[in-house]
Assembly symmetry: C2
Homo-oligomer: 498 residues x 2
């Protein structure tokens, strides 16, 4: 893998001086076009061997281009806010928005490689991490991110020579630390693990570009021209939509069973359920008490809970959520109402806004609508392409899998009312002044698409009800019943998890 | 202070039921108007005694209004990302933007009150904190934030009765914790400290509204109607600009000395300084080595550094910054290029964007332009009102004082070139393709206002060069000299601080 980066690539200084000005000018122009068009973000990942010019390259690109449109990030030990969330959270939070360039000095691959090289993880775990990385990068590419990954390589001999040379010179002596030498001793192991990483995560959507790090002129021109070519190709390409990295053939239509007998998970629900206020009041207080005790359980301090509410319009999501929050300490939960995405949110991959709101340990995040918008409203109203919502099922399962792997308890509720009950509630809302705001033209329009939503919900439940994150369907014609079922289910899920 | 909140305020349920629908409808309307106009944000602070209905009020307002435009936050123990930054950082990061309502369950007053009541701080420190709070709230008001502070009060007898009642009822038993009783034992001390807080921080711009917490109907109507009146007053008020909370008479013109002899800090600089490349190269490497060692000093792990670069256009800020970053580990610094504020940034108080970028412990933040934009470009170009930039001097000193109090080392550089040297550099930039982007119509326009900028810089240095955050003026006609002086000054400041 690295052999072709050990052949002594070299550009002489004269030639470099000749080519550099045009390259800089072209890179700047590409950056200006990128910023003007705001069609996609560029994410540059910098990895590789110490002393192979990673830092110099980051500095050089910042010097060549306009640093006001570049966000450079390096990653040390995670902060507690980072450590208390799934591993990828710290990378999600720094993703560049459309029109900007993000430069990551080390990224999601770094820790897995270190852990494996120092034998803190076994080969099975590493294999699993490679697959995660591959899926994550494919998702970025599918979302339109132009992802460029540079691996800076030095042969063992070259790295030793480089470290020694730096050390000998009094003025650069400080650049070499004990840690550098310590890592050098493990060179062979690093190389083996790195080779596996580079091979396994070099996909058509996001290949590693291996750069020999000995000669700074060669290094600089290679990185600069690769970056320029990739940016120009996308900038000059057709259309405003980023080309999908997932080849279309694989995006086959999901097996949608024609519900010839009209039986499906939704239509099988008995929406009218009995519950009187006499039963409701004590049951509510009892369940709230249990939830409160669970929330203060020492075991919950190492966990967190993500609770998702989706449902027909006027199905009572807000009321159900308030019955949960009433049982919790205000410092322990965050209610997250999800509306149409803001400009900033639209300029990022669609899961970005939800990653931002993930709870820290010991806390609840209550989502009033969620990432399922993509396979519900966005699908039905055509706000995204069919390819987008089709691949969303897998991405969502992946996302929830990461939450689960991090110890986050997931509960998802679909609140369903009958078409008649919805109409009753709409009319009621129209007549009461303070409920008026709850009923808009959108609601009436959605109602007209009842059948399409019905199908979308059934598909969603089929495709995303997993062991770690099952859907619970809530019969909601009776609000009291719905609230109790939600609370009881949540209490049960948390109890089982602790 | 609290006596009038112990008189047994009460609204009977019938009357409440009569008044509530109209109040809800009006509050919703106000919220819709707020969101549509996006002229200012509303910040509701909820403080007071346990059991007096703080949580219920937060829930109620979320129920009455549209929760999609409300951000509710409660504050537990600070995370390390919060603890490693100045005390107010966690509040800055959750400030609502124009058009939104932020609800803070406990806020900047909570910890000082607790610390004082438990005698962890003395009266001097508490006094100092009260002044900080007062200044902070005045700044918010000046920036157009509609700040409403509700203090929920219960007499000692009422609090005891309330806790006992909750405890006795099996269904609400869980709501009372040992901590509640523990705090109750300290009731008298809390009351005394709280009275001082409420009295001292009840300013015309942001008075505390003391609400008797016994009767939930009274409580709800009081909060709702106060909020409604305050919102309506601002919404229906004139103009798009928020009224300044600082009374105009106090905003007296700063004593601007007519520089009748043309002598001032800038014109006294000898801009042409000698420095050859033979001296520069080894000096640079030496200083970079020293800076690198300082950055790895164990003592620096508890500190942080904020380095501000301002200067004439084409004075060489970017080049000076790169000579610093070349000496640092990429994980240890963040370069922050400051351009025109984004839409989101404009919708917040002007210091908000800078608070977001403050460094954690052990790190450097390098600002390429900064909060001084307000007293430079915004002043000269008239992007803000005279009152705004005049009060900015004080706010900036306050802000930097908070950084210093938190152990942040501050270095501020003004890079000055002569008008002739600037012209030379402009022409050079126009001729070299890859420097072309660096020269815009703005630069030529700014150049025409040379004298106005000159005056603004002199005022800025006069007003904001403080002991903890002095300005260093850099003679920059010779770039090599400028870079060495910047590095040497920074090294010296960090060395002295450690």
């Amino acid at each position: 893998m690295f052999e072709s980066a050990e052949v002594g690539h070299r550009i002489d200084r004269e030639e470099y001086r000749r080519r550099e000005p045009a390259l800089r000018a072209a890179l700047l122009q590409a950056q200006l076009d990128l910023a003007a068009l705001k069609r996609f973000p560029v994410l540059i990942v910098v990895g590789g061997v110490d002393g192979a010019g990673k830092g110099e390259t980051v500095n050089l690109l910042n010097e060549w281009m306009d640093p006001r449109h570049i966000d450079t990030h390096a990653f040390g030990a995670p902060s507690d806010e980072e450590a208390e969330r799934p591993r990828m959270w710290r990378f999600w939070r720094v993703l560049p928005s459309n029109g900007r360039i993000g430069m990551l000095f080390g990224a999601w691959h770094s820790q897995p490689v270190l852990d494996r090289a120092y034998r803190r993880t076994g080969s099975d775990r590493f294999e699993q991490q490679l697959q995660e990385i591959e899926r994550f990068e494919r998702m970025l590419a599918d979302e339109g991110v132009l992802l460029l990954k540079f691996w800076f390589h030095l042969s063992k001999k070259d790295q030793q020579a480089r470290l020694k040379a730096l050390e000998k010179e009094p003025l650069t002596h400080w650049r070499v630390t004990r840690e550098d030498w310590h890592r050098f001793e493990k060179y062979d192991r690093f190389r083996k693990v790195s080779e596996l990483l580079v091979r396994r995560t070099s996909t058509p959507a996001a290949p590693w570009i291996v750069v020999e790090g000995v000669d700074e002129c060669y290094r600089a021109l290679t990185v600069g021209e690769t970056l320029l070519a990739a940016m120009r190709q996308r900038l000059d390409g057709p259309g405003t939509n980023p080309p999908s990295a997932t080849p279309t053939p694989t995006a086959q239509p999901a097996p949608r069973l024609p519900a010839i007998d009209q039986r499906d998970v939704l239509s099988m629900l008995e929406l009218d359920q009995p519950m009187t206020r006499e039963v409701y009041e004590p049951a509510l207080a009892l369940l709230q008490g249990r939830l409160n005790r669970l929330s203060r359980d020492v075991k919950f301090r190492k966990r967190a809970a993500v609770v998702v509410f989706e449902g027909s319009d006027a199905a009572g999501k807000g009321g159900a959520i308030r019955r949960i929050t009433a049982a919790l300490d205000a410092r322990q939960y965050q209610g997250i109402p999800v509306g149409a995405p803001s400009e900033e949110e639209r300029a990022h991959p669609y899961l970005w806004r939800f990653w931002r709101d993930l709870p820290r340990r010991g806390r609840f995040a209550l989502f009033d609508r969620s990432w399922y918008g993509r396979v519900l409203v966005e699908r039905v109203e055509g706000y995204c392409s069919e390819a987008d919502w089709r691949r969303a099922y897998g991405e969502i399962n992946e996302f929830e899998g990461e939450l689960d792997a991090h110890g986050v308890i997931i509960a998802k509720f679909w609140l369903q009312v009958s078409k008649e009950e919805q109409l009753r509630r709409f009319r009621d809302r129209e007549q009461v002044a303070f409920k008026n705001f709850k009923i808009t033209a959108d609601d009436w329009r959605n109602r007209k698409r009842w059948a399409a939503y019905h199908q979308a919900v059934c598909d969603m439940v089929d495709r995303t009800s997993t062991d770690v994150a099952p859907w619970t369907l809530i019969e909601s014609n009776n609000k009291l019943y719905a609230r109790i079922k939600v609370l009881a289910t949540l209490v049960e899920r948390v109890e089982q998890a602790l």
